[in-house]
C-alpha cells in the first residue's frame, strides 16, 4: 500500500514549471526577512533573550517595530531570525503543539521538548523553512538556552547570537560574558549586544526588546531600549493668519429654495 508522503514535507513537483515561469519573466515576490540581531545568555537565575525590531524586504525596511521574541510556553520564549513568515509560523505551531503536550502530560514543559519538536520539523523540510532560532527558557532542570538552524541542527551554549548582526553581537559577548552574572548586568550585556547589531549591521535596526525568564516569572520588555527615537520635525511649514494680506472680504449666502430627492435606477 503506497503511503502518501506528500503531506509530511514540501512537494517539489512544480519546480520545473516555476523555473520556466521565472525565465518567462514572472516576478518572484521577495520574502520578508527579519535581517536581525537576536541573542540570548544564561545568567545566575535564568535566561535573558534579546532582539532588535527591524524587518527587511530586500534593502527596504518592511516593519520598523516588529516583535521577534515569540511566545512558546509560559516558561520559554523563542527569538527568530531568517524568513519572517517561517519564524512566526513555526513558533506558533510549536506553541500549539506544546499546549496539547502540556494537557496530555499534566506537567510544565521542558525546553528540550520544544527543541526536539522544532528540530524534527525543520529537518523534515530540508532547510526550506528558513527559521533560525534562539530558544530559551527555565524548567525543572534549570535555565536552558539553545540555537536552532533551518536545517534542523541545534547547539547548546551559555551565550548565543543569530542573524545578520550575530557577529557584532557575538563580539560583545566574547568580550564581556562571564558565567553566573547578576540580572542587571546580564540585561545590560544583552542590550549592548543587540545595540552593537543595530548600529553596525544594516539588516538590524530600531529598538531593543528583552525577555527575562526565571523560575516561575517572565518579564517581556518591549521595548526595553528605544535606541532610535523618531526625530522631532525641526521646521514649521504652517503659515500664520495674516501672512497673506486680506484686501477685500465678500460673503454671499446661497438660499436653499427647493430640495428634491429621487432614486436613480441601476444601469442594466
Amino acid at each position: 500500500m503506497a503511503e502518501d508522503q506528500s503531506s509530511d514535507c514540501f512537494s517539489f513537483d512544480l519546480f520545473e514549471r516555476n523555473e520556466k515561469l521565472k525565465r518567462d519573466g514572472f516576478k518572484v515576490p521577495k520574502a520578508i526577512k527579519t535581517g536581525t540581531t537576536i541573542a540570548g545568555i544564561v545568567y545566575k537565575d535564568g535566561v535573558v533573550l534579546g532582539a532588535d525590531t527591524r524587518a527587511t524586504e530586500g534593502s527596504v525596511v518592511a516593519d520598523k517595530n516588529c516583535a521577534k521574541i515569540h511566545y512558546l510556553a509560559p516558561n520559554m520564549y523563542c527569538c527568530g531570525a531568517g524568513t519572517a513568515a517561517d519564524t512566526e509560523n513555526v513558533t506558533s505551531l510549536t506553541s500549539s503543539k506544546l499546549t496539547l503536550h502540556r494537557l496530555y502530560t499534566g506537567r510544565e514543559t521542558l525546553v528540550s521538548t520544544a527543541l526536539r519538536m522544532l528540530k524534527q520539523y525543520l529537518s523534515r523540510y530540508g532547510g526550506h523553512v528558513g527559521a533560525y532560532l534562539v530558544l530559551g527558557g527555565v524548567d525543572k532542570t534549570g535555565p536552558r538556552l539553545f540555537t536552532v538552524h533551518a536545517h534542523g541542527s541545534t547547539d547548546t551554549l551559555p551565550y548565543v547570537t543569530m542573524g545578520s548582526g550575530s557577529l557584532a553581537a557575538m563580539s560583545v559577548f566574547e568580550d564581556r560574558y562571564r558565567p553566573n552574572m547578576e540580572k542587571e548586568e546580564a540585561m545590560l550585556l544583552v542590550r549592548d549586544a543587540i545595540a552593537s547589531g543595530i548600529f553596525n549591521d544594516l539588516g538590524s535596526g530600531s529598538h531593543v526588546d528583552l525577555c527575562v525568564i526565571t523560575k516561575g516569572k517572565v518579564e517581556y520588555l518591549r521595548p526595553f531600549d528605544v535606541a532610535n527615537k523618531k526625530g522631532e520635525r525641526a521646521g514649521d511649514y504652517s503659515y500664520k493668519p495674516g501672512t497673506t494680506a486680506v484686501l477685500n472680504v465678500d460673503i454671499r449666502k446661497f438660499d436653499v429654495v427647493d430640495e428634491q430627492v429621487t432614486a436613480v435606477a441601476m444601469e442594466t
Binding site: 544564561v42 547548546t156 551554549l157 551559555p158 551565550y159 557577529l167 557584532a168 557575538m170 563580539s171 560583545v172 566574547e174 568580550d175 560574558y177 562571564r178 558565567p179 549592548d192 545595540a195 552593537s196 547589531g197 548600529f199 553596525n200
Partner: protein, 266 residues
Amino acid sequence: MAAGMNLPFSQRGPAPLWSGGPAPGQFHDFPNKGNSCSSVQLPINKTRQPIVMGTSVVGIKFSGGVVIAADTLGSYGSLARFRSVSRLMKVTDSTVVGCSGDYGDFQDTKGHLDRMIISERCHDDGHGYTPRGIFSYLTRVMYYKRTRGEPHWNTWAVGGCKDGEPFLGYVDMIGVAYESPFVATGLGKYYALPLMRDAAEQVAKEGRELTEEVAVDIVKRALKVLLYRDCRTINKYEFAIATEEGVRIEGPLALDTNWDVAQYVK
C-alpha cells in the same frame, strides 16, 4: 625544427638562416604586437587568487597617535603555514602600515615603498613622505592595479602621526579608500569595528581620555575576539604605535584567552 622538413626534397625552399628572428630585409616584429598602445608588452602579472594570506588588521586613533595591530600568521588556505610573518611595516618615522590579504602582493608593495623612501632620503632636501602621502600613494597604486584587471589582493591600514596630528586610513583591493578613527580589515570589520567603536564611545561618555594605553587595551580586546571567532588566526600578534616621538613595533606577543565557559557547554 625547420618548417619544410616533412616535404619531399624538391618542394622544400632553402632552409631559413636562423629561426625566431626577422627575415632578411624585414623589420623585426616584437612579440604580441598590436595588443596594446605601447609597442612593448610587459608580462601579465595578475593575482587571480590570493595564495598565502593574512587575516584582519585593526587600527584605532587615540589622543596622541594611532595603534595598528595584526597577528603573525600567513595562511595557506586552511593550513597555518607561516606562523611568524610580520604584516606590519614601518614606512617612515611617522608612518606605519598593516596589510591583510595576499602576502606576496604585500611584499611587492613593501619593496616599492622601501625603494621610494630610500630615494626620497637620497634627495636629502628636508622633505619626507607624510602619512597622508603614503596613504595617497597606496590608494592610487591599488586603484591603478584594479583598473588594469591585475589587482593587488590586499587591504591596507595606514597609520601615522605628523606634526602632532594622528592619521588613520583604509585602502582596499578595489581602491576604496577612506580615513576613519577606527579601521579594520577582513573579519575584523564584523567583529572588531563594533567593539572598538563602542569601547571608544564608552571612554568618551565616562569623560576619560583615549590615551595610548587605553587604545592598546581596546585593540587587544578586539584581537582576542578575532582569535576566538576567526578560523584563520593564531595566538601571536604584533602591534605598532605611531606618535609624535616616532613609530615603534612591539611584539610578537600572545593573548590570554578564557575557556571557563567550556564547562558550561553540555
